[in-house]
């Protein structure tokens, strides 16, 4: 990024872009630290079909801490811009204050990443054969595209494709909607000869599930939140509902208007939360309210950023007794 041209990009986004470019993950953590969740799962590293875990879930607790830090600053008289610019600058000098803060405050939950572990469990259970690249998994770089750094995005995409090809990858199962869309729809238009087959986890589940019986351990009312990327970008609206409806014990109650292609955005994603941390939280609260009003005990969704936002919304609303989980977790529990 040259300094002159990036002058109008908000500092929060410059910071994220820097992380992707220098560390190959949106958090800017050291290489491979996102792979801890799979340590004891013995997933093969070499495979034609790989499970693409994505930054969102692999670094979720670090991202949560960072979000809450910049939200705090954004609400204070300091604002988020100056600290984000300073953080970006310090990183160049080799001091990573945001990273230090994250390490201190993150509740060692990185290694859990329940949606990822459950997704893996579900796929294995359904007899799908796949591997996981672990510390070799590259960042899809989707955010570079959304930030406007198209040249950097294309460069990242080309390097990534080369790497995946050299590792013998032919098919990708994505779990994060945004990574899946990037790999399936954005990258093919800027990488010559791109021939990877990309599917979202839910599509693979639907293909493989057949007539298997799914039963949730208890009777429960759930509502479903469509993420923008899964519903409006990837067009997967009926698929998650089909799965939810097939699970015995689950009663699906939906918002009357804001569902499917009309779902309200959680206020995160696309880097918005790094530019308008406080506004992003206001939008999270609004969306959470719509979902809570259905009377559901569980909000099911499919995107790490949505999960962070909706959890934050519940906290702000002081709504107890409502959980937010990824659909993969629900399916795992129902198997």
């Amino acid at each position: 990024m040259n300094k002159k041209t990036s002058g109008l990009i908000p500092p929060g986004l410059v910071y994220i872009a820097g992380n992707i470019i220098s560390k190959h993950n949106i958090l800017g953590d050291s290489k491979g630290s996102g792979a801890k969740w799979a340590k004891d799962l013995n997933l093969p590293k070499e495979a034609e079909t790989i499970f693409f875990a994505g930054c969102g879930y692999q670094y979720i607790s670090g991202l949560e801490s960072l979000s809450s830090l910049i939200r705090g600053m954004d609400k204070s008289v300091i604002g988020a811009e100056l600290p984000m610019s300073i953080a970006g600058f310090q990183k160049k000098l080799g001091i990573d204050f945001a990273g230090i803060y994250r390490k201190v405050s993150a509740r060692s939950k990185d290694s859990d990443a329940p949606p990822l572990r459950d997704a893996v469990k579900v796929l294995s259970n359904l007899g799908v054969e796949f591997g996981y690249l672990a510390d070799d998994e590259p960042c899809c770089g989707g955010l570079l595209h959304y930030i406007g750094l198209q040249k950097e995005f294309v460069r990242n995409a080309q390097e990534m494709y080369k790497k995946l090809k050299s590792l013998g990858v032919k098919r990708i199962i994505g779990i994060v909607p945004s990574c899946t869309y990037t790999l399936r729809n954005l990258i093919p238009s800027c990488v010559e000869g791109y021939d990877l087959e990309v599917k979202h986890f839910l599509e693979v589940v639907l293909e493989s599930i057949g007539s298997r019986e799914l039963r949730f351990p208890r009777e429960v009312k759930v509502t479903y939140h469509d993420s923008c990327q899964l519903a409006r970008y990837l067009g997967l609206i009926e698929e998650p509902r089909q799965i939810l409806k097939a699970i015995k014990g689950i009663e699906l109650i939906e918002t009357d208007w804001t569902k499917g292609e009309w779902a309200t955005c959680c206020g995160g994603g696309g880097g918005f939360e790094a530019v308008f941390p406080e506004l992003s939280q206001i939008l999270a609260v609004n969306r959470t309210k719509e979902l809570v009003e259905t009377g559901a005990q569980i909000i099911v969704t499919n995107c790490p950023r949505c999960i962070m936002q909706l959890k934050d919304g519940l906290k702000e609303l002081r709504t107890g007794g409502v959980e937010v989980v990824d659909l993969a977790q629900i399916v795992a529990m129902a198997m």
């Binding site: 002159k4 990009i9 406007g148 208007w257 308008f276 939008l283």
Partner: protein, 395 residues
């Protein structure tokens, strides 16, 4: 970053303003209900929107030709026509026509807002009455419009009562009927005293040179027919080839603006005339004796050449997208410039305000619900990412 910092402060103040949020949550609810109802009642609208999209896609590529054609048709109808390459040119043409010290009644026009037309006329010593109720409120509050169709969408009735009490010197209650009647009384006589009436146009048929003016209040009818001179400022993207095309554009526009049918649609093709005495055509019978139409380019023809950003020109200005934007729902038009939300960023860029465009472009969530609502299926997220690219690359 100073424009961004000021903008962010403004948008956050709005986000903390409960009145804006309450006013908008009501407006969104009734917009959705009304539009669903209108589309259910007239289901052909959806197919018609597809046809209109084709009409617009084509027309946007030939705006200059259509403008030429419309000018010829209107001149044939004894109207006077002008093509303004820039906003400044448009203002100069209007200043020359208007002169100084005139009383002007004006219908609401986004194109007028785009070039600060009212402010310009006032600076030149004219008295301008905004006749649309919402716009009148905004003018008197010295505020700026917050929605393209309902400019005062963020102002509750209590604030209107206070404002009108100050204007009339009478204590007025926050009763909407009384407030509407007050505005009627305040503006009524101005139509007949005015030297000039001004309007925009929702769509223009190039073959007949006909302006379509869609409204509910009746203020546009009065503004464009009572004074002796009518001046219309039209963005070139409003042009379509035929009268039949224009009719379809109009119907889709009002339907997605949540109306089964508006109270009034005026079709204006020339000045008022009569031949009732000895078949001698004489101008200025009951309506205006002069009609002046200015077609304004102001970046539109170059915008039309951009493969992605040209979509902004398909916009019918129905305002539907605004009700679907989660950010707009808490900030109203503060997420905007002359035009609002994500698509507003494209217009800010088009008018050369790059910093404002950047601020707006990075406020868009790229969530894409506006696109679901849009009868023209304008892909605002795609335009926003392209804008960000242009901004990042310093283009």
């Amino acid at each position: 970053m100073s424009i961004f910092t000021d903008y962010k402060k403004e948008i956050m103040d709005a986000a903390h303003n409960d009145r804006i949020r309450i006013a908008l949550s009501r407006a969104i609810k009734s917009y959705r209900a009304n539009t669903n109802n209108a589309l259910r009642k007239f289901p052909h609208t959806i197919k018609m929107a597809e046809e209109v999209k084709e009409i617009k896609e084509k027309a946007i590529g030939e705006m200059e030709k259509l403008a030429q054609q419309a000018c010829e048709a209107m001149e044939g109808n004894k109207g006077k026509t002008y093509i303004a390459k820039t906003a400044k040119e448009a203002l100069n043409i209007i200043t020359n026509l208007v002169g100084k010290g005139k009383l002007i009644v004006k219908g609401k026009s986004m194109t007028g807002e785009e070039i600060d037309l009212r402010e310009h006329l006032e600076e030149h010593g004219n008295q301008v009455y905004e006749t649309d109720l919402g716009e009148f409120i905004i003018q008197k509050l010295k505020s700026r419009p917050m929605h393209i169709l309902s400019p005062a969408i963020h102002v509750p009735k209590e604030d209107v009562a206070q404002l009108f009490s100050r204007i009339t010197g009478q204590e007025l209650p926050p009763d909407i009927d009384i407030l509407v009647a007050t505005a009627r009384k305040l503006i009524r006589e101005k139509y007949f005293q005015a030297d000039i009436g001004m309007s925009g146009a929702n769509v223009v048929a190039a073959d007949t040179g006909t302006l379509f003016l869609i409204e509910n209040e009746g203020n546009v009818r009065l503004s464009t027919s009572a004074p002796p001179i009518h001046i219309a400022l039209v963005g070139m993207e409003k042009l379509v080839p035929t009268l039949a095309d224009a009719y379809r554009v109009a119907e889709v526009t009002w339907r997605y603006a949540n109306y089964t049918v508006p109270s009034y649609v005026s079709l204006v093709s020339g000045p008022s005339k009569t031949g009732d005495i000895e078949k001698v055509t004489t101008y200025g019978s009951h309506g205006p004796r002069e009609l002046h139409v200015i077609f304004m380019d102001a970046g539109r023809t170059s915008l039309a050449k951009h493969p992605i950003l040209r979509q902004a020109l398909y916009c019918l200005r129905c305002g539907g997208c605004l009700y679907e934007c989660p950010v707009y729902a808490v900030t109203a038009g503060y997420f905007g410039d002359k035009y609002f939300t994500g698509i507003g960023a494209v217009w800010a860029m088009n008018s050369g305000n790059v910093e404002k465009a950047a601020s707006l472009a990075y406020t868009c969530l790229t969530c894409g619900r506006c696109k679901v609502r849009c009868p023209m299926e304008i892909d605002t997220p795609e335009m926003i990412v392209e804008l960000r690219r242009l901004i990042a690359e310093g283009a």
